[in-house]
Structure formats: structure tokens, C-alpha cells
Symmetry: C2
Subunit: 710 residues, 2 copies
């Protein structure tokens, strides 16, 4: 049994409902009525200040009148009444609540105070609650439904946790129409006591839930989310939509659930690291989620495409290819078997294009049997199975010519799809259906009711297959965990503590990096021309000379960096030039690295996130190309390798244009160490290592900036 606090909330045996009345136009009444009709078999105890009977159930005027402490309290009351009500239930002994009422932190300062108050009350009584500012919860197994919309499919497979109530209420008829069945659904609201991480952990453990869909406006515990998601995603698919990544998105989020949204690329990095499949639209979230929940896992990249039309077949093949799936020509044997069922001019290659055909058994039975039996595919997409919808379309033209009632006519070409659904599950290979007809067509309806995902655009069927492939890759991601037991290098604490400026000077920053095993350019701190010349002698020309001060930013733009100095004389000139602009700062004499490839590494913070480590193309191209990746600290070795490999410019890391390949272990060690450094010193809020020059295949930090928090 799950240890999640949600387990008790989702499985009560008795429910007190405050806020329902006999006025059916009120939200609370509708929700309570829906609860009554959802099939919930436990006690339902309405609380109402005046009524003795509410919606046919005996009602209690005060919480203190209740005959016992119910397992769950549901509050749909004006904002101001919530604290006292919660207190009443706490005193009574109820430990779980769903607070539907809104008007808390999403409305501003005073709402935030009120939200803190209910948190306090809950903490005092050891209570946990979903909400506030939510629409309730659904458990189709118990069953239990606290939302306003009725559930029609019980014992479903898709688990949903959403920071928008609409996506577990208004969309229920939509989900039914698309054959999507829900296991558990949680409207998180402001997530004050039960947040999205709790929901994720609960759905991860829930046996009924085959895949998880998350609608996210902001995560307050991104580190915990990462830990939970990466453990779950390797066995159970997680699909997420995140909408707070733009200016308008973030502003809308703030007035909706009061969440702090972060930049899109930070969430993108989190999802990649956690093995979460990202959806761009709520439609994709649901339909990709359903494909993952309903189908056997895809175990390879070979897709068979079968259609009754060239256009959709081409669209599917093209989309599959774009996402890295293969649509290879079948072997001669398989093509021969297929050709028995298709006209001479049709193509048996893959896509198989049967061309227009009235006998649905070829498309829905005979050729699929060949495809699933052959060892040449890992998954199948079929476009064009349709029956009553098509016949219904033809009926008006044929009616004058034939003497058959409409019903009989529609059923004349009914497809038997039971064999097809069976084939998919028996062979353990996924099947996806594309059709321009919807649930009104008998065949499509049968797919929808039998757990086969259907799509109304061929390319979307291809995209859904790509999501199955994405989960195949996630399941096969390396399993290594971040090493969190390492001790902080000696001396570093004293270096950091003795720095009293907001920015660290380059020399100090690099000293700290080297303590963490991050290679930097070789260099000396100098104050006089003599020291500079001696240092250059020790390093060997060419060298670089730069000002070294925590107070001087943009030193290159200010002409205080001289590169590729070839001899003593030039060095002296450079020294004088810098000195003329700054009278007292020390300078750095550094080795000049040879290398055509420049990267950057760094660290940044985002609200609710642990330190975010960044790696990307650096040097002069940093801002122009913005080619970088983010992962959250602590990083595992594989996290670090994966982020480097995700760059658009990743070819530069390989044996590129005669240059030797970059040592990926060295890159990964650098990034892992950067994450440790960031976690060891939370007072450092920003790190910028740029450029990191690739020298003989090894990365070396040539410039470094650390900034402390204010």
C-alpha cells in the first residue's frame, strides 16, 4: 500500500461535504450530487447551517454535530469561512480534506496570509489537504468523484494531476469521446499541502495507473520532482505540459494559481533529466498519455504503416522519420504475402497502400495479421478503417436507388476489429489508429472502447508512436545516480569566506574550480612588470595578460585583456596599457591555449529549483546561437554526458574536421563538479565559465566569474 498522504484522501470511507444545498444551480450542490451519483459506497454527510436534509441526505447544522469524524472533509464555502471550518474538522479528528474554495494566494497578499493560516491549522492537527482553489479529485476505482462533471468510464488507466481544474472537469466528456479512461485525477489548485510532487509520487505507486499526465504551471520543489520523476519514468511513462515559460504565460500563471513560473529552458532541462515526455498542447498531453497508458511498450524503431490512401500513408511515414522512427521496406517474403490481398497497382512496400477498398477485413484483419506475425516491425499504424460513418455519408446518394433502411445500410460494411485489438496485445506490439471519422463511426467507437488510441490526423498518429519510442529510449537511459556523499574539498570554505566582494575575482574563482578538480588555464597573479615577465617565462610565450579585480566587469570590452602576447616587450606594453586604465588592481598572466572549439559552462537559479548547471557553445557564439542545455544539481555522470550530447552543435565534440574528439568524461566530470560546488556554496548564485577551451581534446576553463547572492 502506498505511503503517500494522498492515499487516505483518495480512498475515504466517509465524507463530510460542506457547501452543498438544495439549490441545484450552486457549484457545491452539483459536486455533491455528482459524488452521490458517482457510485461512492461510503457515508456522505452534508453540513448545512439551516437545512436538515440536503440532496436527500441527512444534513448536520455544524461540524460539531457530526456523529463521528469522517475520513474526508470537502469544503466548498466562502473563502473567509475556510479556516474555522478546517479547525472544526481538526478538532473533530478528521485528518484529510479537499478545499475547493478559491480566493487565496492567487489573489494577492491578504489571500496569501489566509493560505498560511490554513497551512498552520492543518499542521497543528496533522491534517493534509488537496487545494485550495481546486475542483476536487476523482478515483474511478473506489469509485469517488468530487468534481462537477460525471465520470462515465470506471477502472481507467490514465492518472492525471493538474494545476488547472478544467483539465479534470470540463475535459471529461472530451476524454470519453476519445476513449481515454482515467484511473485517478487530482486537481491540485494552489498545492498548499499536497503539491504536484505528492501527486506524482502517488500516481507513480498506484497500480491502476498505467501512465501519468501532468499539467504544470510551476513547480516549487523541482529537486524533489526530479528525484521522484526519474525513479518513476523508467517503469511508468510521464507526460507533462508546461505553460509558464513565456512572459504572457508566467503572468497568466500568477493570477491563476499564484505559482512562480520559470523560464521554459529550465523546465525543459528538468523534463529531459527526469525522463518526462513533454507535450506542447493539452490535446497532446492527453492523447500521448493515453497511447502510453493503453499500448504495450514499443521495443524498437521499426514501424509498419498500413493505409487505404497514399496521402495519409506518406504523412505518417514522413512524421515517423522526423522523430527517428524507421519505416523500412518490407522483405520480399512479407511483400509477397501482402500482395495477395491488394490490387496489382497498389504498393506492398511500407507504407502499404491498399488504395481505396470497401472490404474492411483486408485493412483491419488480413494484412495486420501478416504485419504483426512478421519479425520486421515493432509497432503498427493503420489509417482508413471506417464503416458506419462512411456508409452514413454514402446513404443520401444511394437511398433513391436501393430499398434498404438506413440502419441496415450502415451495418452492411461493419468491420470486425476484435481480431485487430487482440493482435496488438497478443504480440505485445503497439497499434495506433488514424481516421478522419470519430466516435460516431462504429469502427472508431470500437477502437475507442477497446483501448486502442485513435487520431484524427495521420501525422498525429505518427507523433504518438514517436512518444512510445521516446519512452523506449527513457527506459534504456543509464541508471547511475548522482554521487552525493563526496566531501567538500579542503581550503575552499576559507577561500569563499575570506572573499567579501559580490563578484569573485578571476584568480580566486579559478583557484576554487581547481580545488574541485576542474581544469583551468595555468596562471600567476602579478603586481609588477618584473613578476609578469618572470611568470611569462615560467609559462612560456604566448601568454595572455588581464586585469584581475572583483570590481571590474566586461574587462575585454574595456581593453583590459591582451591576448597572444609573444614576447617580453609586448608584455611590458600590455602591462602599461592596463595600468594606465587602473592604478592598483592585480593582473593575471595566463597561458594561451590553442583550440578552435570554445564552450561555456555555468550555474544559475530559478524559483523553486536547485542550482541549474548549464553547458553550451561558448566564446563569441554564446549569445548569437544560444545553444545550451540545463540540468539540475546534483548531476549524475550520465546526466552530464546527456546534456553535452543534446547540443545542436554536438558534432563539435566529436572527431570534427580532423580535430581529435573531446574527452566526454572530462566534460562530464567538470559539470558534475560544478554541481557539487553550487550545492556546497548556496551563497554563490551565479557561475559563468566562458570560454571553456578544448585543448588537445580536453576542456580547460579560460575565464571564470562567480557572483554571490545579495
Amino acid at each position: 500500500m502506498s505511503s503517500s498522504p494522498l492515499h487516505a484522501i483518495m480512498n475515504p470511507s466517509s465524507i463530510a461535504f460542506v457547501g452543498a444545498s438544495n439549490n441545484l444551480v450552486k457549484m457545491g450542490s452539483l459536486q455533491c450530487l455528482n459524488l452521490i451519483h458517482s457510485g461512492f459506497s461510503g457515508d456522505i454527510l452534508p453540513v448545512h447551517p439551516r437545512e436538515d436534509v440536503v440532496l436527500g441526505k441527512k444534513a448536520y447544522h455544524f461540524v460539531s454535530d457530526l456523529p463521528y469524524a469522517p475520513d474526508l472533509a470537502v469544503l466548498v464555502v466562502p473563502t473567509g469561512l475556510v479556516p474555522d471550518m478546517l479547525e472544526d474538522f481538526g478538532r473533530l479528528g478528521t485528518r484529510n480534506a479537499v478545499i475547493i474554495s478559491g480566493g487565496f494566494r492567487e489573489t494577492g497578499i491578504s489571500g496569501k496570509d489566509l493560505e498560511l493560516r490554513i497551512s498552520d491549522i492543518a499542521r497543528r492537527y496533522g491534517m493534509r489537504f488537496v487545494g485550495p482553489n481546486c475542483v476536487g479529485i476523482i478515483n474511478t476505482q473506489l469509485p469517488l468523484n468530487l468534481t462537477i462533471a460525471p465520470v462515465r468510464d470506471y477502472n481507467g488507466r490514465l492518472g492525471i494531476a493538474s494545476q488547472s481544474g478544467t483539465y479534470v472537469t470540463q475535459t471529461l466528456p472530451y476524454l470519453h469521446k476519445h476513449g481515454i479512461t482515467v484511473s485517478k485525477a487530482i486537481s491540485i489548485g494552489n498545492g498548499t499541502s499536497i503539491d504536484i510532487v505528492d501527486c506524482l509520487e502517488y500516481l507513480g505507486d498506484d497500480e491502476q495507473t498505467a501512465a501519468i499526465v501532468l499539467y504544470i504551471e510551476g513547480i516549487d520543489r523541482a529537486g524533489d520532482f526530479l528525484d521522484a520523476a526519474r525513479a518513476i519514468s523508467r517503469r511508468k511513462p510521464i507526460v507533462a505540459q508546461y505553460v509558464g515559460g513565456t512572459e504572457a504565460g508566467a503572468r497568466a500563471v500568477s493570477s491563476h494559481t499564484g505559482s512562480m513560473a520559470g523560464p521554459d529552458y529550465v523546465y525543459d532541462g528538468l523534463f529531459k533529466q527526469a525522463g518526462v515526455i513533454r507535450a506542447d498542447t493539452i490535446e497532446d498531453a492527453y492523447k500521448i498519455g493515453w497511447t502510453l497508458a493503453s499500448q504495450p511498450p514499443l521495443e524498437g524503431s521499426r514501424i509498419g504503416v498500413l493505409t487505404n490512401s497514399g496521402g495519409p500513408g506518406t504523412g505518417i511515414a514522413n512524421m515517423c522519420n522526423q522523430y527517428g522512427l524507421e519505416v523500412k521496406e518490407f522483405s520480399d517474403e512479407v511483400q509477397k504475402e501482402i500482395r495477395e490481398f491488394i490490387p496489382g497497382y497498389a504498393s506492398a512496400k511500407n507504407p502499404v497502400d491498399l488504395t481505396f477498398h470497401m472490404d474492411m477485413s483486408v485493412l483491419a484483419e488480413k494484412i495486420p495479421r501478416v504485419l504483426f506475425a512478421a519479425d520486421e516491425i515493432d509497432g503498427v499504424i493503420i489509417h482508413g478503417i471506417m464503416d458506419t460513418g462512411w456508409m452514413d455519408m454514402l446513404f443520401p446518394i444511394l437511398k433513391p436507388m436501393i430499398d434498404i433502411p438506413r440502419e441496415d445500410f450502415l451495418n452492411m460494411r461493419k468491420a470486425d476489429i476484435s481480431n485487430l485489438t487482440d493482435l496488438s496485445f497478443r504480440h505485445g506490439k503497439p497499434l495506433i489508429i488514424s481516421s478522419f471519422f470519430g466516435d460516431e463511426d462504429h469502427a472508431l467507437n470500437a477502437f475507442n472502447r477497446n483501448g486502442i488510441p485513435t487520431f484524427d490526423s495521420p501525422e498525429k498518429a505518427g507523433r504518438a508512436m514517436a512518444a512510445l519510442y521516446e519512452h523506449f529510449l527513457i527506459r534504456n537511459m543509464p541508471h547511475d545516480k548522482p554521487d552525493t556523499g563526496m566531501e567538500m574539498p579542503e581550503n575552499v570554505r576559507s577561500i569563499v569566506d575570506s572573499t567579501d566582494t559580490q563578484a569573485f575575482d578571476e584568480y580566486t574563482a579559478k583557484k576554487i574550480l581547481r580545488e574541485y578538480g576542474i581544469p583551468t588555464t595555468r596562471e600567476f597573479l602579478v603586481n609588477t612588470i618584473e613578476e609578469a615577465v618572470d611568470s611569462a617565462g615560467a609559462i612560456g610565450y604566448p601568454v595572455a595578460l588581464k586585469v584581475c579585480s572583483p570590481h571590474i566587469m566586461h574587462k575585454t570590452e574595456r581593453g583590459m585583456v591582451h591576448l597572444a602576447i609573444q614576447d617580453d616587450e609586448s608584455l611590458q606594453k600590455a602591462f602599461h596599457s592596463i595600468r594606465s586604465k587602473d592604478e592598483k588592481s592585480a593582473m593575471l598572466v595566463s597561458e594561451m591555449l590553442r583550440g578552435n572549439r570554445e564552450f561555456m559552462a555555468g550555474m544559475t537559479y530559478s524559483p523553486g529549483f536547485p542550482p541549474c548547471i548549464m553547458f553550451g557553445l561558448g566564446g563569441v557564439f554564446t549569445e548569437a546561437l544560444k545553444d545550451n542545455a540545463i540540468r539540475l544539481a546534483p548531476l549524475s555522470h550520465s546526466d552530464a554526458v546527456a546534456m553535452a550530447e543534446s547540443l545542436a552543435s554536438r558534432a563539435l565534440l566529436g572527431p570534427y574536421r580532423g580535430m581529435q574528439p573531446v574527452d566526454m568524461d572530462a566534460i562530464a566530470s567538470m559539470l558534475v563538479a560544478l554541481g557539487r560546488l553550487a550545492l556546497d556554496f548556496p551563497q554563490i548564485r551565479e557561475i559563468d565559465l566562458n570560454p571553456v577551451i578544448i585543448n588537445d581534446g580536453m576542456p580547460k576553463v579560460a575565464d571564470a566569474l562567480f557572483v554571490r547572492g545579495v
Copy 2:
């Protein structure tokens, strides 16, 4: 009246139909029946070898039996019969045909021969035909429908030309369900006589057609397509899907319509240059096309978002922002007006989140009135209007409590949307609806039947608004045309003619470039050390020394390029080094350019395309970042500027990191000239100028390769 050959085909007053019988299971019979029922008011003359009456119409046994030459012949006959039939109609005097029959070039060599034969016959008689291998044509104005699927909406607005028959047949019920009405639809098939360019030109001229959707598997006349599309797209939106850009896509295309597909980036460049809006799925093509066909043009980037729920509002705002649209907070005055209609805790900012509300007049009338009247928005997206669908969902829970028949209950909250549709057209500002209910909901159905586009995912509504914005930008693209009247520079023909190798040596290639006004590095061709030293003296150190031979590829990798030579001694050493690897080739002494920014320009061919000019990031990053753009020659100045500005790395062209901005006129002139050169010398099949170094803000070609066709 249109001069297009399609005009006659689309508007016949009499039709001979070969291939219909009284066997209703045959395709031809169904199509003819559909024609009869489509409301076509002219003569329909079936031709059948044995029957005297077909589908209730007097039939003729032979074409030669026909009483007169009908305007249009439709052939749904076995492939082998097509040539003789066409000949018969030609002899009779019919000048237009639609050839449904397949089995031509899409099946291989013998089919290709047969296709040539029917082309010949048509040419001899001055006939034009649609097809073969198509499903027919639709004109909802005449009306006329030759496809198998009935049309339900007449006098529609969206023009469709498709290289897949499915997209003008199987999808008709889908289009109806989504409220999309068709003006003209053409199934192009193999496009032998009437191709996609003819269709585009016809739909461009057609007054009934408000926007055009193209489904493309390959274009044989890309230059003509460009000319036609760029003239049309500035007044009438064109949306296109292209599916031949991947290996699997191209293979599927070839066995479908026998088209030659080209790489995706070439088509992408063509679409951008032509002002064609690209769709990734056929759903997007239809629905974006319909938004453009049905709505007033968007005249700015300010979008008002109105919802009854925070999640969809956030999703819409986020998607709008991603595509460059603004969702700005409304002014205090507008917010004040809105607040009169919404609860205190709801947001009036934009998105306006009314929160859940049963009174649809607020969402469908009162707030929209404020939004459209205010001068703060250019377009509006509304999510959440719904009535009977929602009530139908509630009915089962409320039924036991109320004594109202279902029909009456459903109608209790019916929204009046007539004011809303009117608002949009009266203010000349587009309106887009998002809802999780479909055509089964009265409100949605009303939008669908009244020309307001509806979307079942909030983000898709945002994406559709972005397409309106894309067309706003296209309408405002510069109008300059390529200058095609310029003469070929003197001397160039003789230089090209006197080159007898497949590759041109670098010196010759650069000489030709300079003749076209394209700046290159300054350089001398040398054969001896003395000449080399003299040349270096004339140019001034540092210089580069490279081998110069049409036979030596990859000279850098082979150690035959020496850069940054500082003095005579090093030059002599470099000379000897190259000479030791190659005994006789000449060498080039070139100036060494200073510049951190390296680009590339080039020319390539793709099947059916004129020369494609390429510009992108060059030097060491060329293959690693693949950041480039393509346009077709001849290029206008604005084409060239637009392609440079479309680069991901375009920031490098600006005043980047203290470097001076690149002279965009110089870049554009170079690309325009490259296009002229390519058109002047079609025997040159490939040009690669890489790197093009930016030196003091001006581009200079540092290396050049021309390859002749074999």
C-alpha cells in the same frame, strides 16, 4: 474571367461520364451518382458498352455515339483503355477531361510510357486534363462534384488542391464537422496536364476562394510555383503541407503519385520566399486554412484572451507569445469595464479569467463587446463557450432531482452567439473559439455553421491566431522583384568555356565571382618561389599560400593550405612543403583577412527546382550547426536580406560584441549575383563559397569551389 485552363474544366455545362454502371458497388457508379446528386444542372451523358440506361440517365455505347461533344469527359476506366477513350473524345471535339483511372507513372516504366502517350494525344487535340490517378474535382458554386463523397456545404470559401485524393474525398465529412466549407477542390493526381501550379493560379484568381490549402508531395515547376505564389500570397493566404522531405516520405511519395520529392529545407526555403504558410499536419493545413479563409485579416500583434478557466487561458497566452503575438495587460479603463461582469477574485487583466460561470452571455456577449470596442486588441480568442453539450453532461446527475424533459433541460442555458459572430465581422477583427466540446454542442455548432473557426485544444487556437499574424507579416513583405534584365558580364562566357575540368580551380572561380561583383580575397597565381615572394610583397604580410588545382579536393586536410604566413622565409618553407606533395600545380598567394565571423554562400540543385541559393554560418561551424537558409534564383534584394535575417545566428550580422554590423546590402548583392551567375551558367551545378569572411563589416569570399554537371 480566369484565363486558366482549369476554368473550363471546373465549369462545364455538359459532362460525359465513362465508367459508371448500374452496379452501385463500383467507384465509377458512386462518383456518377454523386455528380447527379450534387446539383449539377447541365447534361450528364453516361457512356457504357452495353447498358442503355445508367443510373437513370440515357447511356451511349460508344463515345462516337454521343449526340454532341460534351464540355468535359470523365474517365473511370481500366488503365489500358484510357488512351483510346481520350483519342475518341479528342476526335469528337471535347477539350477537357478528368482522368480518374490510375496505373500510370506511379507504377513504373510502362506506366510512364502510357502517361506520355495520353499527354501526346491531349496535345494533338489541344485538350487539358486533370489526373490521371486522381479522385476528381469539386466546385461548390456551380455546383459540381465528381468525387465519391457528397458535399453538404455550398458556396464555400476554402480552395483546396491536393496531390492526395483522400484530402478532397475521405475528409469531406471531417471538414463539415469542423464547419469548414470548400469553394473549389482539385485532386491533382499525377498532375500530367494540369499541375499544382495551374491549380494555384486558378485558385488565386477564383473570387469565391478566400484562402488556399495545398497538399504537396513534390513540385515539378518550382520556379513557376514561386512566381505564382508570391503574387497571390500578398492578397490571398496560401497554406501548404509538404511531406516528401524525409527518406520514408520520399519513398512513399514515389509509389503514390510518382512525384520526385526534394529535401525538406529546399521546400522550406521555397515556401518562405513565396509567402506560403507551412502546416505540419493535414489537420493544421485545413484548420489554419479555414481560419485564414473565414476571418478578417489580423492587422497587428495584440491579442485579447477571454476564458472561463485559468488553464486554457494560460495555454493560449503562452502559445501566442511563442509565436510573437502579444497578450498584454489591458488598460485600467478596460479592466474596470470588464470587472463589472466578473467575480471579485477573477482576473480582468488579459487573459481575462471569468472563472467557472453558468451564464454564457458574459463570455459570449458582454465581455467580448468590451474587448472588440476597445482599441487595445487586434484579435480575440475565447475559450469555454458551451451550452447543450455541458447541460447534456449534467442531465444524468440532475434528472432524479428535476422534472424537466431532456430537450428542455439542454436548451435552458443556450447561448446566443449571433452578437458575437457579428462583432468580429463588424469590427473587422478575427475571432477564434476554443472548446472541449464539438459540433454536438449547440454553441459550437452555431460557430461552425457561421464561419467562426473552432479548436478543441486551447493551444491550437493560439497557433491559428499566429497563422493570421504570419499572413499579416507576409502581406507587409517588401514587394521588390528580382532584376532579370541584367546582362552577363563580359569575358565570363569565355572563361567558363575554356575550363574543361569538372571542378573549377579556385583562382578561376574567384575570377568569375569578381566579374559578377562578388568581392573575394586579393590574390595572385604563382608558379615559382620568386613569384610567390613578389606577390606577398605586393599584398603585404601576413598572407596565405594554397595549392590551386581543379584536381585537388580537400586541400586543407591534405596539408596544402598554409595560413597566416608572416615573412619571406616562412613563405618559402610553405612553398616547398606544398611542392613536395604536388610537383606541378600552381599556387595562390592570398591576403589573410582579419575577421571573427565566417559565413558560407552556395548554390545547389534539387529536382524540378531552379538553382537554389544558400547562405549560412560557415567556416569550422558549417556542418556542426547546419544553420543556413535557401532561396530560389533569381533572388530579389529583399529575398536575399530575408534569408540572412532568418538565420539562427543572425545576431552575428548585427553590431555583435563590439564588432561593427555587417553591411546587409553587400550580403544581399552577393547572393543576388550568385543567383544570376547560376542562371547564366546552368552547366555549373554546384557552388560552394566557404568561408565568406566578414572583414570590417564587408563579406569577402576566401575560398570558392565550382562544380560542373557531368
